[in-house]
C-alpha cells in the first residue's frame, strides 16, 4: 500500500502563540427539542485556544470580539467549528447552523448551533474532533440532555466518533 503524505502548504506568516496555558478542552451540550424538532447545541472553547488553532489552520481572522457581526469571519469560524463537531444520522452529516456566539470576559467562548428540522432519530453518530489535530492532548466532552437525565460522552483523539442512542 502506497503511503501518501500530503504536505499542506501554508503561505501566510506563522505566529506561534504561547498564551499562558492552553486548556485543551471543549465542552458541548446537546438536546433534541421536541417542539422545534431540531437539535440544539452549545459548544464552549477557550478563546485563545481557538485563536491559536485558527491561526494554525491559516484562517486569518481578527480577535474573536471583532468577528461578531462580520459574516466573512463568522462563516470561516462556523466552517471550522462544524467541521470539528458533526452529527451523522444514518451515516449522513446533518448540517448545523451557527446562530449565536458569546464571548465571556474570562476567555470562554460559546457557540450556539441548531440543526435543520427532522424527526428524532433513534441514534446518531457524533464526530467531535475539534482541535484534536492541533492540540494532541485535546479532549472534547459532550453532555446530552435526555428526558431521563444527562449522558456524558468523552471524545479523545483515539476515539473521536461515538454512536449515541437517543
Amino acid at each position: 500500500m502506497k503511503l501518501r503524505f500530503i504536505l499542506l502548504f501554508v503561505l501566510f506568516a506563522f505566529s506561534l502563540k504561547l498564551s499562558a496555558h492552553e486548556f485543551y478542552f471543549s465542552f458541548a451540550e446537546m438536546q433534541y427539542n421536541e417542539k422545534t424538532e431540531q437539535f440544539e447545541i452549545s459548544l464552549e472553547v477557550s478563546g485563545h485556544d481557538l485563536e491559536d488553532y485558527l491561526a494554525d489552520k491559516g484562517v486569518i481572522i481578527p480577535r474573536l470580539e471583532e468577528c461578531v457581526g462580520k459574516p466573512i469571519y463568522l462563516t470561516m469560524i462556523e466552517k471550522e467549528i462544524t467541521h470539528g463537531f458533526q452529527i451523522l444520522v444514518k451515516g449522513n452529516p446533518l448540517s448545523l447552523d451557527l446562530i449565536g456566539m458569546k464571548i465571556n470576559n474570562n476567555d470562554q467562548v460559546i457557540f450556539f448551533m441548531t440543526s435543520r428540522k427532522m424527526e428524532k432519530p433513534k441514534s446518531i453518530d457524533v464526530n467531535y474532533d475539534l482541535m484534536m489535530d492541533f492540540f494532541s492532548l485535546q479532549q472534547n466532552k459532550l453532555t446530552l440532555f435526555k428526558s431521563e437525565g444527562k449522558q456524558f460522552v468523552t471524545f479523545l483523539n483515539t476515539r473521536s466518533k461515538r454512536t449515541i442512542e437517543l
Binding site: I6, L7, L8, F9, V10, F14, S15, L16, K17, L18, S19, A20, H21, E22, F23, Y24, F25, F27, E29, Q31, E40, I41, S42, E44, G47, D56, G58, R63, E65, V68, G69, K70, P71, L74, L98, I99, G100, M101, K102, I103, N104, N105, N106, D107, Q108, F112, D133, F134, S136, L137, Q139, K141, F145, G149, K150, F152, V153, T154, L156, T158
Partner: protein, 768 residues
C-alpha cells in the same frame, strides 16, 4: 432451620463488611482510610505535624555573576563564582548543577521524547518548527577551583556533575568558578520561558532572560541530589542564596532584574533618579520613571557604548532579568506590615495603554492580598515585565503577556487575561519562590496553591471578577465523564495529562472547597497561613502541606487528599429518593381525619374505576342482607374505644412526649447515591410551603461506612415543598439533574442563551 439462619447471617455479614470496600481482595479500600502508606514516614527533618523537624537542614548557594549580553549576535556570556555551603549531615563526594539551557541543545531529550503524529507536520510552519535546529545549549568554557586549577566534571544532558578532589564535609563550603556562553532563543519562533522578542519596525529586541546560568541542584533529606532532567515542563528546584550580579548591555538599554540596583548613579540619568526618589514617596499611584515618549525616543538610538548594571539580591532561589531600549518604567511603593516594597512595571509602548493603567496597581494589590494569606512579602521589589504571549515567574520579577491592538484598543478578555496573569506570576513570589517546593516533581504545589490565591486576589480586585479557575462549578466539566487522559493531581510534572486543569484548576478548586465548604474560612485560612510560615524559605513536600493543614485545623482531611489528589474520581452525588413521614399522635380526631384525607388524595387503581362502570350492581348491593358490621362501619368515624385508648396513651406519656406528638413535626428520609466516587459533604436546601428556606450542611463523614449509599432523616416543624442538593454549586457536582426533589429540569446552556436574548444577536443580524 438453623442452617438457613446461618446462611442468611453469613450473607448479611458479607454485605455489611463490603460497604466501603471496592474489591474482592479483602483489602481495606474505604475512602476514609488514612494516608499512612502514601506519605513518607515522619522523621527528625520533617515531623508528623507537617512542620520542619528539629534537625531540618537545607543547603545554600551564593552566586557572584558577571554577564555580557551581545545585542548584535543575541548571545550571552557569563562568568560566575558559586559558593556552596553543605549544611547537611552528609559528606558530599560530588556536586550537581542544573544546565537547564541544554534543553535547547541540538538533539536534546526534550525533542526526542515528544510524542508525534503526522498531524504535527501538516503545515510548512510546523515542519519548520520541528526541523529547526537551533543550538541554544551551554558552551562551558571552564570550571575551576578558586586557585585556578581545572575541576573534573561530567555533563549528563541538562545536568552537570563536578567531581571533588576532597569530599565536602558537613558544615563546610566550597567555591568554584565557571565560564560559559550560549545563543539566546527567539522566543516568538521557537518558544520558551526565556529568550527575546524582535520588533522589526524599529529593529529592537526585548530580552527576558532566565534560567541562564548553571545553578546548583537541591540536595536534601527527601531526594538526595535532585536528579530529574529538565525536559521543559516540570520547572525548577533550587536552593536559596545571595546574588551579586553585574550585567553589561548596550548603553541605551534599561534593565529590570531580581534584586536591588546598586549603581543608580552610573546607569540612570539624573532625571530618572530624581523621579525615582519622588516615586518612592508616593504610595497612591505609580510614577513614571521613563515615559512612553522617552522610551519611544530611546528606541531610535542604537548605542555602541555599553553600561554595566549591578544588582544584589538576598535569600533568593534564582535570578532573572529583562533588558531592552524599549522600556517604559513606572514605580509605586507598597507598605506591608511596615516594610516598603517597590512595585514596578517595565513595558514597551506596545503594551499601552493597558500596562500603564493596570500593571503596577495589580502588582501592589497581589502583594497585599497574598501577604494577608501567607507571610508579609519580604523582598524589596516586585516587578512585572511585559512579554508577548507568556506568563513566567522568577524571584521578584515576572514576565507577563497582554498586548492591546495596534490602535490601542483591547477587549475585556485581554484586559482580564493580562491582570490575571500578572496576579498569577507575581503570586509565584510566594509559591514557589519563598515557599520553595520542588516544581520538577510536583507542579501543583506551586501552581495549584498559587492559582487558589490568584482567585482570592482576583475577587478582591473587583466584584464578580471573571475568574477562570477557582469556583467549584468551573472544574466539573473537566472532572466528569471518562477518565482516559486524566491524571490524579499527585502525578509527576512531566507525566500529567491536561496540565492546566490538573495542576492549576483542580488543586485550586480543591482548596476553595476546603475553604468554603469542608473547613470553613477561619480554620482554612489559619492552617494555610501556618503552612506558609512554617515553610517560608524552606523546601516543603506534599506530605508537609497535607499534614500541616490537618494539624493546624484539627480536621482529618486524609479522605479529601486521597479523593481529590490521589484519584481521578469526580463528584456526582444523586438524591435518589425522598420519603415523607409525620408523627402518629394517637389522637383519633387527628389521625382518622388525616387518614381520610390521605385516602382521598391517593391514586386509585384503574381497575376499580372500570369495575364501577362495568358492574351495574354487585351481589351485596342486590342482597343487602349479606352485609355485616364490616360492610357498614365508617373507618374514619371516631368510636368510644378510640377515645378510651387515646386517654390511656396520654396517661403513659410525659408532657414532653405529648408536646412532641403535638408539634406537627414533619420527617423526611433522604437517600443519596455517590455515582462519581468522591465523597463530599451533603449541602441540602429545604424549601418550605410557606416560602421560607433552610440549609443543612452534613459533613462528608456521613459516607464513612458506606462510601456509595447513604441516607439522612431531616425533620422540620413545617412542610417541605422541595429539597435541593448542593444549591450553591460548591462541591463540583458534575450532574445537577439528579440533585432536586421533586425533580427539576436542568436548563441547557442553549436554553439559557435563548431565554436571555432580548434583541437580535449581532451574529443573527449579520447573517440576515
Amino acid at each position: 432451620m438453623r442452617i438457613l439462619f446461618t446462611i442468611i447471617f453469613a450473607l448479611t455479614s458479607l454485605n455489611s463488611w463490603s460497604q466501603g470496600h471496592e474489591n474482592l481482595e479483602n483489602i481495606n479500600m474505604n475512602k476514609f482510610r488514612q494516608l499512612k502508606q502514601e506519605l513518607a514516614t515522619p522523621n527528625v527533618y520533617r515531623t508528623a505535624s507537617g512542620a520542619p523537624g528539629h534537625e531540618y537542614y537545607q543547603q545554600r548557594a551564593d552566586y557572584k555573576i558577571e554577564i555580557e549580553l551581545d545585542d548584535e549576535k543575541q548571545t550571552i556570556h557569563g562568568k560566575e563564582r558559586i559558593t556552596y555551603v553543605n549544611n547537611s549531615p552528609d559528606r558530599l563526594d560530588y556536586l550537581w548543577l542544573q544546565l537547564d539551557q541544554n534543553m535547547r541543545a541540538q538533539g536534546s531529550d526534550s525533542k526526542l521524547i515528544q510524542v508525534e503524529r503526522m498531524e504535527d507536520f501538516n503545515t510548512l510552519s510546523k515542519v519548520h518548527s520541528k526541523m529547526f535546529e537551533f543550538d541554544g545549549g551551554y558552551k562551558i568554557e571552564y570550571i575551576k577551583a578558586t586557585n585556578g586549577q581545572n575541576m573534573d566534571y561530567a555533563i549528563n544532558k541538562t545536568m552537570l556533575r563536578i567531581d571533588l578532589k576532597e569530599a565536602l564535609q558537613p558544615g563546610k563550603s566550597i567555591s568554584f568558578d565557571l565560564k560559559w556562553w550560549y545563543n539566546i532563543n527567539d522566543r516568538m519562533k521557537i518558544g520558551g520561558r526565556s529568550g527575546y522578542e524582535y520588533f522589526p519596525e524599529n529593529e529592537n529586541h526585548l530580552y527576558t532572560i532566565a534560567q541562564f546560568f548553571p545553578r546548583m541542584c537541591v540536595y536534601n533529606d527527601v531526594e538526595g541530589w535532585q536528579n530529574k532532567q529538565f525536559l521543559g515542563r516540570g520547572e525548577f528546584t533550587l536552593p536559596f542564596g545571595d546574588y551579586d550580579v553585574e550585567i553589561k548591555v548596550p548603553g541605551d538599554h534599561v534593565i529590570a532584574a531580581t534584586g536591588v540596583l546598586q549603581n543608580e548613579s552610573q546607569v540612570l540619568t539624573s532625571q530618572q533618579r530624581e523621579r525615582l526618589a519622588q516615586a518612592k514617596k508616593d504610595f497612591t499611584k505609580p510614577t513614571l520613571i521613563i515615559t512612553q515618549e522617552e522610551a519611544t525616543e530611546n528606541e531610535k538610538t542604537k548605542s555602541k557604548k555599553s553600561k554595566v548594571w549591578k544588582f544584589k539580591a538576598e535569600n533568593v532561589r534564582d535570578f532573572a532579568f529583562a533588558t531592552s531600549r524599549k522600556f517604559i518604567w513606572d514605580v509605586m511603593p507598597v507598605k506591608i506590615e511596615g516594610k516598603v516594597t517597590l512595585a514596578m512595571s517595565y513595558y514597551p509602548k506596545e503594551g499601552n495603554p493597558l500596562w500603564e493603567k493596570y500593571s503596577t496597581e495589580v502588582v501592589a494589590h497581589t502583594l497585599e492580598v497574598y501577604s494577608d494569606h501567607t507571610i508579609p512579602y519580604p523582598y524589596p521589589v516586585a516587578i512585572s515585565v511585559h512579554a508577548a504571549s507568556i506568563g513566567m515567574e522568577y524571584p521578584m520579577i515576572c514576565f507577563n503577556y497582554g498586548r492591546p491592538e495596534e490602535d490601542g484598543t483591547y477587549s475585556p478578555r485581554l484586559k482580564y487575561g493580562m491582570m490575571s496573569v500578572i496576579i498569577h506570576e507575581v503570586g509565584h513570589n510566594f509559591f514557589p519562590m519563598i515557599i520553595n517546593s520542588d516544581e520538577r516533581q510536583w507542579t501543583w504545589m506551586d501552581e495549584g496553591l498559587n492559582t487558589f490565591l490568584q482567585y482570592v486576589t482576583e475577587q478582591k480586585w473587583e466584584r464578580d471578577y471573571p475568574s477562570r479557575r477557582g469556583p467549584a462549578y468551573m472544574i466539573s466539566d473537566y472532572m466528569g465523564g471518562d477518565k482516559e487522559y486524566i491524571s490524579p493531581i499527585m502525578t509527576n510534572s512531566e507525566s500529567i495529562w491536561q496540565f492546566g486543569n490538573n495542576a492549576y484548576g483542580k488543586p485550586a478548586t480543591a482548596l476553595n472547597i476546603l475553604r468554603e465548604t469542608i473547613m470553613g474560612r477561619e480554620l482554612f485560612d489559619y492552617a494555610f497561613k501556618i503552612y506558609a510560615e512554617r515553610w517560608a524559605f524552606k523546601h516543603p513536600t506534599p506530605a508537609d502541606f497535607f499534614r500541616t493543614m490537618e494539624d493546624a485545623s484539627g480536621v482529618d482531611l486524609d479522605w479529601f487528599w486521597r479523593g481529590w489528589f490521589y484519584t481521578t474520581d469526580h463528584v456526582e452525588i444523586a438524591m435518589t429518593n425522598v420519603k415523607w413521614f409525620q408523627m402518629n399522635t394517637g389522637n383519633p380526631t387527628i389521625e382518622k381525619q388525616w387518614s381520610e384525607i390521605k385516602d382521598e388524595r391517593g391514586s386509585e387503581f384503574i381497575g376499580n374505576q372500570r369495575n364501577q362502570a362495568d358492574t351495574n350492581k354487585t351481589r351485596l348491593e342486590r342482597k343487602p342482607g349479606l352485609g355485616d358490621f364490616y360492610n357498614t362501619q365508617d373507618p374514619y368515624s371516631i368510636e368510644t374505644a378510640d377515645e378510651e385508648d387515646f386517654g390511656k396513651l396520654q396517661e403513659t406519656l410525659s408532657q414532653k412526649d405529648i408536646d412532641l406528638l403535638n408539634s406537627g413535626m414533619q420527617f423526611y428520609e433522604l437517600n443519596f447515591k455517590n455515582n462519581g466516587g468522591l465523597v463530599m459533604p451533603l449541602i441540602i436546601k429545604a424549601e418550605f410551603v410557606d416560602g421560607s428556606e433552610e440549609v443543612i450542611r452534613i459533613p462528608a463523614e456521613i459516607w464513612l461506612k458506606h462510601n456509595y449509599l447513604t441516607s439522612k432523616v431531616l425533620y422540620f416543624k413545617k412542610e417541605v415543598s422541595a429539597f435541593v442538593l448542593d444549591p450553591f454549586l460548591e462541591t463540583a457536582d458534575t450532574d445537577l439533574s439528579n440533585n432536586s426533589w421533586p425533580r427539576k429540569v436542568e436548563p441547557t446552556r442553549f436554553k439559557l442563551f435563548k431565554e436571555n436574548v432580548t434583541r437580535e444577536n449581532p451574529m443573527q443580524r449579520s447573517k440576515r
